[in-house]
Symmetry: D4
Subunit: 254 residues, 8 copies
Amino acid sequence: MNRERLQQLLQDVADGRTTPSDALDQLRTFPLERLPFAQIDHHRALRQGHPEVIFCEHKTVEQVVGIASRLATANGAFLGTRATAEQAKALVAAHAWAEWDPIGRTVYLPPDPEPQPSGGPVLIVAAGTSDLPVANEAATSARALGLEVERLTDVGVSGLHRILAEEQLLHEARVIIVVAGMEGALPSVVGGLVSSPVIAVPTSVGYGAAFSGLAALLGMLTACASGLTVVNIDNGFGAAVAAARICRTPAPTT
Amino acid sequence: MNRERLQQLLQDVADGRTTPSDALDQLRTFPLERLPFAQIDHHRALRQGHPEVIFCEHKTVEQVVGIASRLATANGAFLGTRATAEQAKALVAAHAWAEWDPIGRTVYLPPDPEPQPSGGPVLIVAAGTSDLPVANEAATSARALGLEVERLTDVGVSGLHRILAEEQLLHEARVIIVVAGMEGALPSVVGGLVSSPVIAVPTSVGYGAAFSGLAALLGMLTACASGLTVVNIDNGFGAAVAAARICRTPAPTT
Amino acid sequence: MNRERLQQLLQDVADGRTTPSDALDQLRTFPLERLPFAQIDHHRALRQGHPEVIFCEHKTVEQVVGIASRLATANGAFLGTRATAEQAKALVAAHAWAEWDPIGRTVYLPPDPEPQPSGGPVLIVAAGTSDLPVANEAATSARALGLEVERLTDVGVSGLHRILAEEQLLHEARVIIVVAGMEGALPSVVGGLVSSPVIAVPTSVGYGAAFSGLAALLGMLTACASGLTVVNIDNGFGAAVAAARICRTPAPTT
Amino acid sequence: MNRERLQQLLQDVADGRTTPSDALDQLRTFPLERLPFAQIDHHRALRQGHPEVIFCEHKTVEQVVGIASRLATANGAFLGTRATAEQAKALVAAHAWAEWDPIGRTVYLPPDPEPQPSGGPVLIVAAGTSDLPVANEAATSARALGLEVERLTDVGVSGLHRILAEEQLLHEARVIIVVAGMEGALPSVVGGLVSSPVIAVPTSVGYGAAFSGLAALLGMLTACASGLTVVNIDNGFGAAVAAARICRTPAPTT
Amino acid sequence: MNRERLQQLLQDVADGRTTPSDALDQLRTFPLERLPFAQIDHHRALRQGHPEVIFCEHKTVEQVVGIASRLATANGAFLGTRATAEQAKALVAAHAWAEWDPIGRTVYLPPDPEPQPSGGPVLIVAAGTSDLPVANEAATSARALGLEVERLTDVGVSGLHRILAEEQLLHEARVIIVVAGMEGALPSVVGGLVSSPVIAVPTSVGYGAAFSGLAALLGMLTACASGLTVVNIDNGFGAAVAAARICRTPAPTT
Amino acid sequence: MNRERLQQLLQDVADGRTTPSDALDQLRTFPLERLPFAQIDHHRALRQGHPEVIFCEHKTVEQVVGIASRLATANGAFLGTRATAEQAKALVAAHAWAEWDPIGRTVYLPPDPEPQPSGGPVLIVAAGTSDLPVANEAATSARALGLEVERLTDVGVSGLHRILAEEQLLHEARVIIVVAGMEGALPSVVGGLVSSPVIAVPTSVGYGAAFSGLAALLGMLTACASGLTVVNIDNGFGAAVAAARICRTPAPTT
Amino acid sequence: MNRERLQQLLQDVADGRTTPSDALDQLRTFPLERLPFAQIDHHRALRQGHPEVIFCEHKTVEQVVGIASRLATANGAFLGTRATAEQAKALVAAHAWAEWDPIGRTVYLPPDPEPQPSGGPVLIVAAGTSDLPVANEAATSARALGLEVERLTDVGVSGLHRILAEEQLLHEARVIIVVAGMEGALPSVVGGLVSSPVIAVPTSVGYGAAFSGLAALLGMLTACASGLTVVNIDNGFGAAVAAARICRTPAPTT
Amino acid sequence: MNRERLQQLLQDVADGRTTPSDALDQLRTFPLERLPFAQIDHHRALRQGHPEVIFCEHKTVEQVVGIASRLATANGAFLGTRATAEQAKALVAAHAWAEWDPIGRTVYLPPDPEPQPSGGPVLIVAAGTSDLPVANEAATSARALGLEVERLTDVGVSGLHRILAEEQLLHEARVIIVVAGMEGALPSVVGGLVSSPVIAVPTSVGYGAAFSGLAALLGMLTACASGLTVVNIDNGFGAAVAAARICRTPAPTT
């Protein structure tokens, strides 16, 4: 039952063509799908303020280009993550203004004009240069979600002075996303320095006992600094959405 | 080098007893520990606004009581987590106003008067009654961190109507902590319904292939709803601190 | 919005106190919880025809007895699984007709009169005597679900003639539940002998590389006989419910 | 001893050429292989009503084509699963009526005429589009097994309204196969909505902590909805056979 | 169909009461269970020449004593493994000649007279004193299986001279069972010194990364000495049976 | 100290050039390497009666060909395992009589004349055709070790009659090597049928929860049939050497 | 052949009772055990300069006391690790001067007089108070090994200033043992601050995803600071021995 | 605040332009980054005496060549590890004196003149030829760190005489790095023979249950020889740095 049919039913009641009791029966047995969920969902999309995202992995070039075109037409923007070079080139060929980041494997077509970022600066910290693909994915995703992004790179715990030297930057961030592979210790250090939300992203960087990110994941989950939260291995996009959930919700008016 | 010694050094330069060049050498090789870090740390404690917490596991009754007394004297408050019945009874015997929650295994001595909670309501959702110990730990911790707490219990995904019936409550929360064991699917459902921050806490509830919380942990990390974050298994306290990090930081004034 | 409020709204439309358009707005934004889900749920419970089940693990004796009494009053029946001796004795003390199976750790109060089992015989096969606790839990659960139960015990694959000697019994079953620990090979053998549904239940029986049921679980999932299905380790109750899902649904009338 | 030799032995007894005692000795020591097992097996094949299936993985193109031709000659039908593009093209080249599904990686030569499906509709639900390869394998396998197939796609739990909107379809199915990767939560939701058999198929979709389907597998095994059963990761074919085991067995005539 | 019924059928054919064709039908459809498998099994037991064994774990004292008494009556001997002190004391109380080994957790009632061991000496090597429980279980089991047993203890690889000093003993053994925990390296060393069969038994001795025997198990499976074989963790009994399989089979007469 | 130097020392003692006491000191402090271990090792090689084996994996074509040529010159024979097609072709090009088995990935140059196999027939059983690579490696290795080899293929437990039909062959074998992937249940069945040594080889065949052979490995280690032994995943060569250890050692003359 | 027999043989050669050639034969076939290895081993013990150590776990009180008494008589000293309270009390009852550390679970009877420690200070750093048991075991073990010990406690990475404040102490140590549980990040930080040897000891402290020390172990193995080494989980004794290996070997005189 | 700014501040105090009190305030609130950490870090590099190292994995050829050129200019030396053939060829093309080891995958440009190695011989032991890549990486890294390197190869525990024959070499080493795959038992044997530091490097050599180095890693961590330390799987470079930490630190002058 879409809006039209529901309106009709109520009109029928108003007009006496249907008794309240009959209408009640119809409403009670309404399959849930008849409720205008699509709109509700649409509302949620509006609230979150971000264009739909194309997870390009396991998709063909044709599929990716097709979805992107549909999104570009509807929203004037799209974001593709985990794009191969071939997918990316096809997307850029079709959308001249799309920006391809080969390291972060993203292709982003920003809306025109791109809205002013809001919600406070999100600081994306990468422990090492090998963590850049994930950090870049997080950064582009955060931008596409309308957030203001700051960056800090190569500040791993084996040279503490590097992160300590940037303590001011850490304190000014609304949310900090810390991307680290190997032993994944950087979020623990950052979490001990600031009281703001810290989202840890383990990466699959490292070999041997890193076990494709397992070491970093477990390390972050068991971090001795309290109140860190963790997302899936290599999930820069997820971290950005988590940051958006924090930044975009209006603080309560107490 | 503490403040006094640093002051002396500078006075010596001012007085000509030490040349700038000699002072430079001394400062360059200053061990870092001479900087007044303790104060900085103190500031951080003040900023986070919460009393120190006693993790009672693996501590003797005497140790727990001793630490609690010191905290009670200093702050007029303390929170003990993972307390055994024996530890709890000793704490309550020593501090008549301390509140023991045998399910959540917490003992909390609130400050008097207890400050007004602030930062927006934190909603703590427990999938099943078996998840109550962790949910209670989160709730008491959140209260001790000065947060306003709402509760929702026994709303697992095998009976969807239970969580759907509370959608209003979900939408009103500033942060949602979802506590679930077994397959840990509830955060994914909640994350799809709201756009606010969702912190997922896997519990060790379940048997067999639940593998002491591993199933729930992996399920939450790979949730198809974007932007969820996860803390350690059974870590209700950590989830509360994560919520406090989100709620207590003033939103940027853009 | 419960039935009464919905009825009122429709009456208001019929009476002209509310315009169809206003009613539409109210219905569109109806929180889902206002729909009479409880009844739907109730319908589901009726359809599945089984009393509610008490998972006794991690519950206090008082909690277990309390829930059981409520169920006994409402349904004249209850089933408790994973009951300790202490819980069981308290249940039997409170409900003289309740039957305690110390091996299967179940306490079952059958309805009086107990309905005739239906849906075809469910054959519960236990590879070894050590698998009896799980097989018994499955058997009592199946009985409580209104199913007819046959049993076969100690027919592991290291003595093939034992299971081959019972091939007739295997062929006559509507559903076969195969309970096995250690290497969990029995379901594969049974699945190769019959074409009916086979539900495999790995048990935590075995030591060392059995890894608390992991060996049996993986063995059953990778069984070379096609079309076996698997439930959680030691989950005799779950297997019984799965059997009931198969037996109680009326076959389509084609 | 095949049928002929057994017949001869009995004739010898009847004719007095062999004493009953000698015949007894021969029968007692008969190697089991002398019994006409092949026929019994043949009966089983007939009972299950499905053509033999070629698991193409790890086979050469020549092997696959050779087996398929033999099956096509014998049965006028074959089903190849996990076929590479190269294998598939060779099969289609050799059998013009064979149907290749590049997503599901199946090649199916249906019998001519294809028999009317029976046993009730099997509903195959895929959580996301990435789960389509496994869902398609299940669908084609179910069709080859003579089952009637319905489909539902992209109804993951992060947007609950999508599955709720199809509740009617869920209720009408004889068996539901739910294919899901990542956290694998969809079967739990579906299992809570219906009382019919639900077969969960974890897929290797997802990255990081999905650990190639482990997260979904554990999630499904520990699902809080009772009575779900699970097959191996990515095993769409196995799920279809499990569904056939349920649908093809005549319900008992009570 | 037992021997009697089969004999009757053949007599009926001989007497003309049954035609060969009718007898054929009966034999063809004989359920396999009608064949006198029990005897065949009995033959196998005789061939292996060992009394039945009681795995005491998870059994009550009553069950253990009951089974043992039945075996003692039938065979004049029994072997109980993994016996608790309580079980052992009850067995010894009931059978004065039974021998309890509290370290190996076995209770053995030898036949009277105990037969002469045969099949060549089996050498049981324990890496450390902590491996003695498993080595003892293997030794008593081997004795009960009629094997001649030699022992060597505390010859771990961290002091190579200890095992090298016993090279003569190693060369004289028919089969060597090597019991080792922690890194499980001893079998690799022994396997490099001798050309006879080496059966490696990982034990759960060790802590931390020993992971209850996993380290030793993996180490033995990947040993660089060729031709070692491995049994389950802590499975001294299984190693003894494997040795008996090697020693008791007559070498071929080529 | 090689033989010559040791002879010289003793001659010096005999000639009075060295006192026994001085000689004792020299011998006591002899570095162990001075003992003629190489010969002892040579003896061992002779005892085991097999040519050296080239594990080709991770070696260059040049290395493989070089080692093979050296072995061919020394022994007139060699065995290469895990050979790539490229390596194999180079070996056959250099040694015209070498035999390449592309399925088992072995290249074997038999000695001329090839000695009569001895030690009793080794039966190599492969559960499915996908297990043939490992079974073939075992077969060629056993042949190169001088053993007589019998084969049995595609007799998995899902069609029990296939293995039961070959019971005679099973009973006649001196040693049985059972190669199986997926759930690895076949060794348990075979071990229950015979009393001779059974060596189980798990293969990496299977997908999903087979976890590259882990399921089969754990299944074999926990098999309910007693006295099975297990080698590494896919280690056909190791199983053959284990069989040779059993067959080549003269049975004790008791 | 012990020293006496070897001396006799040489005397026989000197006396002409044995020819050099015969003696050669005897020596060539000497089982290795005839060499006076025990002494060599004794030398090694002397070189390492530490009393033998009793690993008390899994030993009875009687066994522990017995071994300790033998060691006390021989060396005037002993060290027991992993002692239960019961074992410790028995040891102290028997040896009045023995020192029991209930936290580190060690009982140490120092030699009288206790030698001056040497080899440079070993700094034992514990991340948290929960790591004290392992740190204490390391400290007492190091003392028993004759090393000079410094301590630093509760300097985890979540409060960086604590470890930075002690940089001087870090720089002065000859070897640093870093004991840490949970995410095990402290060694990485320490390793980045100093250039001396750092031995990391993961502890089983932490819950949930700490998985009994696995998280810390993997974290330390994959630490981004180069040149850290790791010992087994909770292995304080092993870390002390590793430190002794570093400190006690004379630096080469280049 | 770099050196210049700090000097200026002190000069201002000396000149009376700034009071000591104001300078104190500035120094107290100095963000830590203002301290001349780079120099301190530089000091550490100098102390460790090794050129910076390029971890080539996951870097493009351009990146690798660029970093190498910068290092060559600054230090006249560089070391690249884990270099692909393409990266290596580009490096050698750009730096004619660079030495490429295709087995160890290193490219090393030594300083000219190369300094005399010091700190005592580091002995690098490889269990098998398959372990050479990791052993070579360790050797080249040790050379680049200024250490004297000895080598020993193919001395695995399955032929003990090989390692025993080199006992002298083992005793002369300052530090021993033992590289081994499969069961990783060699370090345990070596650790039992010497009292000097032993660093164990597990390699990913082996198949099946070697699980990419896990078996060797666990074996080394649980080695029965005390005081071994372990680095990450395949981490030859890390082992070399650990050796340098031991060798380069001056022994204390007690």
